[in-house]
Amino acid sequence: MREKRTKVSNIGNNPESTVSAIASPRISLLMGRLVSMGGEASKKSLLKGGPLIALLLLIAYLSFASPHFFTARNLSNVAVQSSINAILAIGQTMVIISGGIDLSVGAVLALSASVAAVAMTYHGQSMVVGMLLALGTGALVGSISGIVIAKTKVPDFVATLGIMTAARGLALIVTGGLPVPSHKALLEVGAGLPSGLIWLGSGDILGVPVPALVIVAVTIMGWHILTNTTLGRAIYAIGGNREAARVSGISIDRTKIMAYTIMGLLAAVAGIVLTGRLNSANALMAGGAELHSIAAVVIGGTTLLGGAGGVVGTLIGAFIMGTLGNGLNLLGVSAFWQQVIMGMLIISVVVFDQWRRRRFAV
């Protein structure tokens, strides 16, 4: 791994680029370190390193294919572009490991962002209040999903499908179907979003984009929950064998509710970042985000069966998607074809992974 790092940073020896701190190589290095605790484990993580290898190959290829790819500015672009998906996908990872799936994340993102934006622009609330409102909304909707799934027999897929539709509806009600702040409000009243919020979406610290820092924070949090807490243990257990977990005294209901609540919170975080980046919120923002987040999880090597996987792979998955999108843009591939390629990528990654597992019986 060290070897790869030096190689990559040689290519990117741009002195002014503290940015490359957030460029994927270093993040993956950090993550690699997080994964590899102890010698035996690191050998295993190398065996599991399919997604990481794919990402590095992609970066290597794009660096040769386009002179604009491996620049500090572009890499920080990639990070910003991947940030929403990465944040959502980290939450999605926990839900999927627990044996569930959350289709409502894009809608919850839009709803929390809309609530916050309306409060801040039209009701004179401060940024702190706005953010708390967003987080509260996300957590509330997430916990409702969790409660519905835990207390009724409705499958996760169906429950969150319902919540998704309802949340979009609520977001439309809250915003009246208009962007917040609307053009009119912006022009006539001068009502806008607090500048701090905009900084969260498009500012930087010493050249490192803030969304990239948010990814790092969220990933560390997700990793910490999954590996160091009893909640994380319970998430793996109920996803791995629900009945066995129950007999061992793990509360399925509590664990599910917690997983979906955290997911909701992260959807709100992504909503805040996206609102800051777009300088506005609207009820239809982040359309299709749920599917992208699931794709990132799958590309990162977490199986939809539950019980296994982790956020580090997911982060790499999100970066593979972000890097590919960015690279295809640079290479002038049309947005339509990009979708086709992305779809093929998802399938081939999973096929490859299954083949590798069968072949090497890992």
Partner: protein, 494 residues
């Protein structure tokens, strides 16, 4: 015996990451022979038969069937070659009915598109009857108990009309009656010229069903011998590579205060007026045949089965238990019979599986204490000799017996004062069994009370201080230690 074996394996070799499961093993099987395969947990028995059934590829070696070399590429291919298998960790599909499971992949057709249901029911009922299983073949397998599922799995294999049958621990969940029936059936098949490879940890079965026996140790073949004239002791010696001091070690204990008292427990249609008391430092055995209600009783105690009436006292205090979480909170622990269904978390490594039921002990304010956890895990896998001794290995990659040890370890480190064990030694080899009973002795000294269901008569007779016999949901007899014999237990149970 004909000179040329029906099936010959030459230098079969198979490795998994970090484990050499089979090391150039030779093996042969004659027509109309039952060849018993013995070996400690993890010796490579299941791996060998899985290679024959096409569910695992071999690394090297030759398989010669009827004088011709074959490469078995899939289970489907194995079936075409006339090889059928009963898997150790059953392979039934829970949501399909019994009959659908039995005929899976070869539903009889009437004309082209129509499944011949009447014929299927009839045939299914016939095989099931031979095994003594009287159930409606239309019920989903998910509603059946483990023993019933094992019988259905056997029925599925028997109805195939295969020439070679691979039976991987087919009796591990069966009680005396069904086992006898199975032995008769196996012998009947053999007389019809069918060849059988039979794996079991119950050595008493060897002379009943087998003609020859092969012992594996650490993936290598130790010897192949005719069954006649080999004593159990010799077999044990070959399996574990040392003499076993005592198969069922037992230390005398004087029971203390009552810790669990059950009064008039009733589950409509399953349990009737069950009364008993378990004391500190006591091992109470419960013996019953298929569907006697033993499992229902302990599930009710653990909050997994609704009760209609009755009182439960823990440490003299009246309690109601409506979930395993509450039960564990009250100091109970429950090792279920079906480790694949509700025992093991397969994709999780060994360590978190072991500490799962006692996370409170290994965490503070919800934060896991990895070092403490690891120390405990290391102690437990050493104590129970889980092999390979790797806490980070995924539980699903362990052999059946080692998986059982992991689930046992979970309850041994749960800190429970009342341990309920449903077939605790299912799939565990003789050597490890004796060590597990040593551990029971230690638990008992620590004033733990143990409630043990076992279908293995010698085991329950040797280990339990008192034995209750159950039939059709109620206790029909109680024996003190030393009072009971195999005959008495069987008589009260049937």
């Amino acid at each position: 015996m004909p000179t040329e074996p029906l099936l010959r394996l030459e230098a079969i070799d198979k490795s998994f990451p970090g484990v050499h499961a089979l090391d150039h093993v030779d093996f042969d099987l004659y027509e109309g022979e039952t060849h018993v395969l013995l070996g400690e947990n993890g010796a490579g028995k299941s791996t060998l038969v899985k290679i024959l059934s096409g569910s695992l590829p071999k690394d090297s070696g030759r398989i010669i069937l009827r004088g011709k070399q074959v490469e078995i590429t899939s289970s489907y291919h194995a079936r075409l070659l006339g090889i059928g298998m009963v898997y150790q960790e059953l392979s039934l599909i829970p949501d399909l009915s019994v009959v659908e499971n039995i005929f899976l992949g070869r539903l009889p057709r009437r004309r082209v598109f129509f499944i011949d249901w009447p014929r299927m029911y009839e045939e299914a009922q016939q095989v099931l009857k031979k095994l003594g299983l009287i159930i409606d073949p239309k019920v989903p397998v998910r509603h059946l108990g483990l023993a019933e599922r094992q019988l259905v799995e056997i029925a599925k294999c028997l109805s195939l009309n295969e020439r070679i049958l691979l039976l991987d621990e087919p009796t591990s969940a069966l009680s005396e009656e069904e086992r006898q029936r199975l032995f008769n059936l196996v012998n009947e098949l053999r007389e019809r010229g069918i060849s059988i490879i039979y794996i079991s940890h119950r050595l008493s079965e060897v002379p009943i069903v087998g003609q020859r026996v092969t012992v594996l140790r650490d993936g290598k073949k130790v010897a192949t011998l005719p069954v006649n004239g080999v004593g159990e002791d010799t077999l044990i010696q070959m399996m574990v590579g040392r003499e076993l001091k005592e198969q069922y070690p037992k230390e005398k204990m004087i029971p203390g205060e009552p810790i669990l008292k059950v009064q008039d427990l009733e589950v409509k249609g399953a349990l009737h007026h069950v009364d008993f008391t378990l004391h500190e430092g006591e091992i109470v055995g419960i013996y019953g045949l298929l569907n006697a209600g033993c499992t229902t009783l302990v599930r009710a105690l653990f909050g997994l089965q609704k009760t209609d009436s009755g009182k439960i006292y823990v440490d003299g205090r009246r309690v109601t238990i409506s979930s395993p979480e509450e039960a564990i909170g009250l100091g109970l622990g429950y090792l279920t019979r079906d480790r694949a269904g509700d025992g093991l978390i397969h994709p999780m490594p060994v360590l978190p599986n072991i500490t799962l039921a006692n996370l409170k002990e290994f965490s503070q304010l919800g934060l896991l204490q990895h070092q403490k956890e690891r120390r405990e895990g290391e102690k437990r896998i050493k104590e129970l000799r889980v092999l390979p001794a790797d806490l980070g290995r995924c539980a699903m990659y362990l052999s059946g017996g080692n998986q059982q040890k992991v689930v046992l370890a979970k309850w041994l480190c749960s800190g429970s004062k009342i341990l309920i064990f449903d077939e605790p030694t299912r799939g565990i080899d003789v050597g490890a069994k004796s060590e597990i009973f040593q551990l029971f002795n230690r638990l008992v000294k620590e004033k733990v009370g143990i409630l043990m269901i076992s279908s293995e008569l010698p085991e329950i007779l040797a280990v339990a201080d008192r034995i209750f016999v159950m039939r059709r949901g109620s206790f029909t007899a109680e024996y003190q230690r030393g009072e009971a014999t195999q005959e008495k237990l069987l008589k009260s149970a049937s």
